[in-house]
Symmetry: none
Subunit: 198 residues, 4 copies
DNA sequence: CATGAATGAGGATTCATTCAT
DNA sequence: TATGAATGAATCCTCATTCAT
């Protein structure tokens, strides 16, 4: 069974198994043994590839944030010369990408957030991910708005994205993509057009 | 050491100790032994008052949601005849009440949310709390907006509240009350005045 | 089964069980489960009384060193006004007390010594025990010898005691008390009478 | 990377790595993986050269005892026609050879001794090494002393050597060679000159 | 000759819960 | 009403060993 070059394969298997476990039983009950069973490997192998359970969880969260980052950036690249509004809506859309709103991902995000407040490693990942999104949004707002207002707009849009996403996660129902797009588009337009109103 | 009438005192002691424990070490590491130590009682007593650990956690979450409910309703009562905007802003303000935005409460909320997706008891509490807030908001919006739009507005405002609140929890910094009020007020006004725009 | 005031009883049971386990299978194979079984209690109770396995081992070593200390001091008290030689021989005799030379104790000492070089807690206990014995010996030699020679004599007598004891432990045979007494008495007399020879 | 003739090289690498590991982290924490890392080879190779971990440990102890044996014999050969005292002092000196009193060797000796009481293979090696040294000493004493006294003298000198050596190991300080030589020389002279005194 | 992937048993530790007092 | 002694299951982690390549 032991082969060479298994590292990337095993890592992916185990990260996927972790996401599935978190989705089905929650992070608290996602034990090493269960994750290994889902991945079809022995429990011991986890320490071989991720050092310990925390290492696996961090790698999993890193994977989820990378997927979000990719969903956002790939959309922006396709709109290189578009208007700020179009680009902001694309960023929002990236956050509502299929990879992010399916059940496993939403539960993983929520679990990671809760854990990140007491686990330094996860906390760092969360901060990095958040700051990236925020600066991406603020950068676009700054093309139209003065600095202070752009920051506020970015802050508000991140909050709205997270809030919509959080509600979807907690409701247990499928993500209401249409409502989310309507509300975020309203927010973006309001911010961009009322540049002088506040 | 009175032998009778200890029930409310002990329950409060233990709920407060639970909130402190969640704040300092997280729900995962908030063991029965640690909570009991913080409350200055023995570990065995918890089963006497709350049956088991889950009972204590549910009681704690019920306490937190009741505080939120009270913060909102007490504000609304003082504005019985005010305008929808004023009442909506009061509801928002209730969500940003001191009792809700201090560190212990925000961490507890986030922890409860993460747990509520896999623990039926907590899930029910979360849903009840959410629906109460949503219907309170929608009720006010309905005084100005048609049903569908009022529902969407309520949904969006809940999302924004939760999002702002979530960001504050994750950032580790004090809640930026001014930014939160500016953004939510903008949202409320936009929804109320642009009733025809969507 | 749970009673009040069990602490000293349980601690003694567990320390004795630890010594037996070290004697029979060695410190490396003296697992928590095995020690608990010998003591007739559950494994979990060890953390209740000793925090963890290391705590139990330290308590056990502390117990062994205390027995040595007691064997020495009780002999000295009975010889309050005796000659230096008599008192020195009594100290040696304390080190060869039954409590020290039975198999369990000798193996425990050797195991603790080996461990003490990499476990700070045990290292401290070992140093304390050694220094006490050394200063007790040097104090008696100083009644006859000048400081430097008294120190050397004490150092040498400690080495001889430990060496005899070590050989007995490693040989697997019963302690040869007669040979040990002959050799140590020779050493003591030589040091005391040849005060000028070196 | 020659494919043949690697055996002696690899064995030496691994034995040295084992001694270093025992010195730095102790025998208990000297894992196969760690030893292999220190030797710059993979963990799997150990079973190839030493069958299993125990084989490696026995080979390492055999190496240490061989060094001791060599330090003693090489000194004796240079003193083929010398007096008993000179030869006895040479034997002692061999035991205090640099190869024996540096930190790694002392810790290895102590660790092996502790293990030898529960591991038959190591126990045999320890006994062989001890008997060799003892008979070498007794042989020299017999040139001057009657059998019983020579045995006792040899036994005592071994004990003193081991005791001095043990104290040095446990103290953590450099070996006090001068004190050791003074004490052992005193012992040797006392035994040789007081042949009638006991 | 050499690697490192993989296993699986074994051990320490944690912890909610129970229960005699 | 309250304690804390005691249990035992559950979990993470370590590690020697095996084996395909």
């Amino acid at each position: 069974m032991p082969k060479v070059g298994m590292q990337p394969i095993r890592r992916r298997q185990l990260i996927d198994a972790t996401l599935n476990a978190i989705n089905e039983v929650g992070m608290h009950d996602a034990t090493i043994a269960q994750i290994a069973r889902r991945a079809g490997v022995s429990a011991g192998i986890i320490s071989h590839y991720f050092r310990d359970k925390n290492g696996l969880l961090e790698a999993t969260m890193r994977d989820v944030t990378a997927q979000l980052r990719h969903a956002v950036l790939s959309r922006l690249q396709r709109l290189a010369d578009a208007s700020p509004e179009a680009r902001l809506r694309a960023i929002v859309d990236g956050n509502f990408d299929d990879s992010q709103i399916h059940s496993a991902a939403t539960k993983a995000w929520l679990a990671f957030w809760a854990s990140s407040m007491h686990q330094p490693g996860l906390g760092r990942l969360q901060q990095i991910s958040h700051r990236r999104l925020l600066s991406t949004l603020v950068f676009e707002f700054r093309r139209t708005l003065p600095p202070a207002q752009a920051r506020l707009a970015g802050y508000g849009l991140v909050a709205m994205i997270d809030g919509l996403w959080l509600r979807a996660a907690l409701s247990g129902e499928p993500f209401n993509l249409e409502a989310a797009r309507t509300l975020t588009t309203q927010f973006i337009r309001q911010q961009l057009t009322q540049a002088h109103s506040n």
